[in-house]
């Protein structure tokens, strides 16, 4: 299976409210909220690290979860967020110009 890279779409608006990430789609202003694990994925999605590395380092280390299941769930989530144009997915690292310039506080 090829590795995938994920990056925040720079067109979205995002803010963490008490640990819960609010994201507004740049396409149609739809508001989304991410749960704790999805928020971690979002914050780590800078386009430079492959998804499996993010899952291993940040999700499996903090939650009692099977690594293969966690990666599958993370991929599903990333593709869903890509569908809403709030995340970018690529098989190669994504340059900072194409991803959000800063993480969301």
């Amino acid at each position: 299976m090829s590795r995938i890279y994920v990056a925040r779409n720079p067109k979205v608006a995002a803010r963490s409210l008490d640990g819960e990430m609010m994201i507004m789609s740049g396409r149609d202003s739809t508001l989304f909220t991410l749960n704790q694990t999805a928020t971690i994925l979002w914050q780590e999605a800078d386009g430079t690290r492959p998804l499996d590395e993010i899952v291993t380092r940040r999700i499996c280390s903090e939650f009692d979860v099977d690594p293969a299941t966690a990666l599958r769930d993370a991929e599903d989530l990333a593709r869903e967020l890509e569908g809403h144009e709030i995340m970018q997915i690529s098989e190669a690292p994504i340059s900072p110009q194409r991803s959000a310039a800063g993480g969301s506080r």
Binding site: V12, A13, A14, L17, G102, R105
Partner: protein, 367 residues
């Protein structure tokens, strides 16, 4: 407000987080609207660096929705630098402008920077009416061109139509124009006093007869009978409710760094040039005083028939002299809508009657 946005706003309220802030970048303007409440001279606006620092503080405080307004935002030469900075901090940015300075290039940059929406003031579909309000010949043409440039970039645009005596009959034309342009349209019959307290602008506001016409236009308000019905009696929840979001999940920062509960509520609570924004938000005595007010704490209003459905603006009440008192403009709207005078109006009538009462002099009575 969407269900999820309402849920997040309630969370922000519970955690004392300012969800939404309007920052006026300047009071300078390229129009001179007759009803405008601002002094357009520059008395020492925040510099680029000061505004960037403020934006850092707002992001740190948890602000999600950031509205840039003015004055006219595009008269600041650093406008796009500030906008780019704000978007890098991932705010949901909304703009309020007259669009006179928006051409193809500006519209494309606004789109590229991921602005959520642009609100543009249009007073009439007729140049002779719109331009007579802005006092700038050709301004309607320029504003409409700006809207078209934004639309061609796929931007979400909303026309804001302030209803006054001078343009009251034109709102159907403005709405038709908005539909033709494929943009939203909001109508607002509120004209505010100037920020220095001068109330001369209020005479431009819509008179009761024309307001009554608006409140009975089913294309605007839906079910007229329901909208104009005498309101139901308030319940306990009404008395414990908050008068509005000002100071609770929203506030306003002027071009000089002053923090107010709302753009329409000029109660000074601190200045970001001297204090951290979050310290003003959390610890200002005045902000906390605003925050402490519940409907039951208001003077006059708790006994009013309209209390559960009134659009009372605490800022307008403050400008009338008491932020816990009634807002006469909103009393007027409730009366025009339902035909039932507010408690405030009845109280004023009683006072006026006492002033003009003529008592028979005893000597005359016995003559």
């Amino acid at each position: 407000m969407s269900g999820l946005m309402e849920e997040m706003t309630n969370k922000a309220l519970a955690r004392n987080i300012p969800m939404s802030v309007q920052v006026d970048l300047t009071y300078r303007c390229n129009e001179r609207c007759v009803h405008c409440y601002l002094d357009h001279d520059d008395h020492g606006e925040m510099t680029t660096a000061e505004i960037k620092h403020l934006l850092d503080e707002l992001a740190e405080a948890g602000v999600f929705i950031l509205t840039f307004s003015g004055g006219e935002i595009f008269v600041r030469k650093d406008f796009f630098e500030l906008l780019e900075y704000a978007r890098r901090l991932t705010f949901c940015v909304k703009l309020k402008t007259n669009a006179v300075l928006i051409r193809e290039h500006e519209a494309a940059r606004i789109r590229d920077l991921g602005v959520e929406s642009v609100q543009i003031s249009i007073y009439s579909h007729r140049p002779e009416v719109h331009d007579a309000i802005t006092l700038v010949p050709g301004s309607l043409k320029r504003s409409l061109e700006g809207i078209r440039f934004l639309k061609s970039q796929g931007m979400k645009v909303v026309i804001a139509n302030v209803l006054m005596t001078g343009n009251m009959q034109d709102y159907p034309g403005v709405r038709a124009l908005a539909a033709e342009l494929g943009v939203g349209c909001t109508l607002d019959p509120t004209v505010t006093p100037m920020m220095d307290g001068n109330r001369s602008t209020l005479q431009l506001g819509a008179d009761p007869a024309t307001l009554r016409q608006v409140f009975r236009d089913s294309s605007l308000i839906g079910d007229v009978d329901e909208f104009c019905a005498i309101p139901a009696a308030p319940d306990e929840g009404t008395m414990e409710s908050l008068p509005c979001s000002a100071g609770h999940t929203a506030c306003y920062v002027s071009p000089y760094g002053e923090v107010f509960p709302c753009v329409q509520f000029p109660l000074p609570t601190g200045n970001v040039r001297r204090q951290r924004f979050i310290d003003i938000w959390r610890h200002s005595d005045r902000m906390n005083d605003v925050r402490s007010i519940r409907v039951k704490d208001l003077t006059t209003c708790p006994e009013c028939t309209h209390v559960a459905h009134c659009t009372r603006c605490p800022g307008l009440a403050y400008m009338e002299g008491n932020m816990r008192g009634p807002s006469s403009q909103d009393c007027e709207k409730s009366f025009v809508r339902t035909g039932v005078p507010s408690a405030n109006m009845l109280s004023k009538q009683r006072k006026a009657a006492n002033l003009v009462q003529i008592q028979t002099m005893p000597a005359l009575a016995t003559a």
